[in-house]
């Protein structure tokens, strides 16, 4: 399969990329790893007239802690995240997710920024970003701006990014000694999108009371979703087995799955319930370590 005709442009800097998209108009699309966009173009689901390659722009691939933040550059590949000592040791939720994202060769090319900017509720990183309360940093013609993750996903393949905006960095509150996260998705086979997935991130205080909590779901709604009602049940409380059981039920009720080839609505709701409980326990275990 060969994509429809388009014209390729290589951007050498962010400034260059932004001025290119301003001159080419709305039929231009940015490509980073291209492992979501190019398959869609091959299937003719997407037919952009211009592709602006931003993968060669330097300085957008990094993983570091700075001040109170974990900062990850948008062009950081899934493989970079997989082999990052910092993420492995302090943010194992990324290791959970990356291992289940596509396959090793795709992860060599696919980027964190692309996974988020694509605006697809089937991708794994949006749920992680929601659970960890990330901030998306975008650069546009008027400079940089920060977008809270809760204002980022607008609809099916639609985000807060304007046509001339490039997602450049992700900021995540730095892990404390008493925080922990976990992610799991059920997939039919390696490389498939989630039948259902759940990301949990929590922080305890010195008495073991839940100070901060994020629970978000993959591929059981049209837009990546946070389960606010479930979070409220845990915030400020000591997390007990009983409470975890109740939260699993609420997450399942609030999810919005539809029946498709991956499973019936009822099956997906049941998965959300089970995975939510398991990930809460795993995140708690990690927070207590």
């Amino acid at each position: 399969m060969i994509p429809a005709n388009f014209t390729y442009h290589k951007a050498t800097s962010l400034k260059d990329a932004i001025s290119l998209v301003q001159s080419l108009g709305e039929e231009a699309k940015f490509m980073s790893g291209g492992h979501s966009l190019l398959p869609m173009m091959k299937l003719r689901f997407a037919t952009p007239e211009h592709i602006i390659d931003i993968s060669k722009i330097e300085g957008l691939s990094f993983i570091k802690e700075e001040g109170d933040l974990l900062k990850i550059g948008a062009m950081t590949t899934q493989t970079d995240m997989e082999y990052s000592d910092l993420l492995r040791s302090k943010y194992p939720i990324f290791s959970d997710a990356v291992k289940l994202t596509a396959d090793p060769s795709v992860r060599n090319v696919g980027t964190l920024g692309g996974n988020i900017a694509h605006g697809d509720a089937a991708n794994d990183q949006p749920a992680l970003m929601l659970a960890m309360r990330a901030t998306v940093v975008a650069q546009g013609p008027d400079g940089r701006r920060s977008i809270p993750i809760d204002e980022f996903f607008h609809g099916f393949y639609m985000t807060a990014l304007e046509p001339a905006d490039i997602l450049v960095e992700i900021h995540i509150p730095k892990a404390s000694g008493r925080s922990g996260g976990a992610y799991h998705k059920v997939e039919r086979k390696v490389g498939d999108y989630a039948t259902a997935g759940v990301a949990v991130y929590l922080e305890l205080d010195d008495d073991g009371v839940c100070r901060e909590i994020g629970i978000a779901l993959t591929n059981v709604s049209a837009v990546p979703m946070r389960v606010g009602r479930a979070e409220e049940m845990l915030r400020g409380k000591k997390i007990t087995d009983d409470l975890i059981d109740q939260v699993g039920v609420v997450a399942s009720e609030d999810s919005e799955p539809t029946s498709d080839l991956r499973g019936s609505e009822a099956y997906k709701r049941s998965l959300v319930n089970t995975i939510t409980k398991r990930m809460l326990n795993k995140a708690l275990e990690r927070a207590r370590q």
Partner: protein, 162 residues
């Protein structure tokens, strides 16, 4: 629109004109005549088209040729000198790691990247490592054995050269 690209493929520098939409696998097979790289599913699922791009395994059906400008590419034809076998090729030969052979070039290219990052993988790590490469004949057991043999051989080679 045509773009001039220059890249290194199996150690040789190549300059060519390519269309924006030309896929890397078609460039390799049809313009360079290196047909050891196969096209299987053409949807980045099966891994038959796997090549090394700057040392990393990449599915060349899902990569634009124009983006490979300046890259160093290795295909199955370039992993060992004529008449000799790369340790992974030898592993597949000795352990019967193939039946029809269609997936084999991709399996081998993927395994090179796998063993580069993890020279001493467990069986589970091998199975995860080749999870993006599909074989419809072998049931994978002999493929895993082939890679295990290669890992042993490559470790010995490394020890003797150090």
């Amino acid at each position: 629109m045509k773009h001039e690209i220059t890249l290194t493929i199996n150690g040789q520098s190549v300059t060519a004109e390519v269309d924006s939409r030309l896929l890397l696998v078609h460039f390799i097979r049809e313009q360079l005549d290196l047909t050891g790289t196969h096209i299987g599913c053409d949807t980045s699922n099966c891994g038959a088209c796997t090549i090394l791009l700057d040392g990393m395994s990449v599915k060349s059906c899902t990569y634009l040729a124009v983006r490979a400008d300046g890259a160093e590419i290795t295909t199955i034809e370039g992993i060992a000198a004529e008449g000799t076998n790369h340790p992974i090729q030898q592993g597949f030969h000795d352990q019967h790691g193939l039946h029809c052979g269609f997936c084999t070039p991709g399996m081998i290219m993927r395994s090179i990247d796998l063993l580069k990052n993890n020279p001493d993988p467990t069986e589970e790590e091998i199975r995860w490592g080749i999870s993006g490469n599909l074989c419809r004949c072998t049931g994978y057991n002999n493929i895993v054995k082939s890679i295990q043999q290669a890992a042993q051989e490559m470790k010995k080679e490394k020890e003797t050269t150090v």
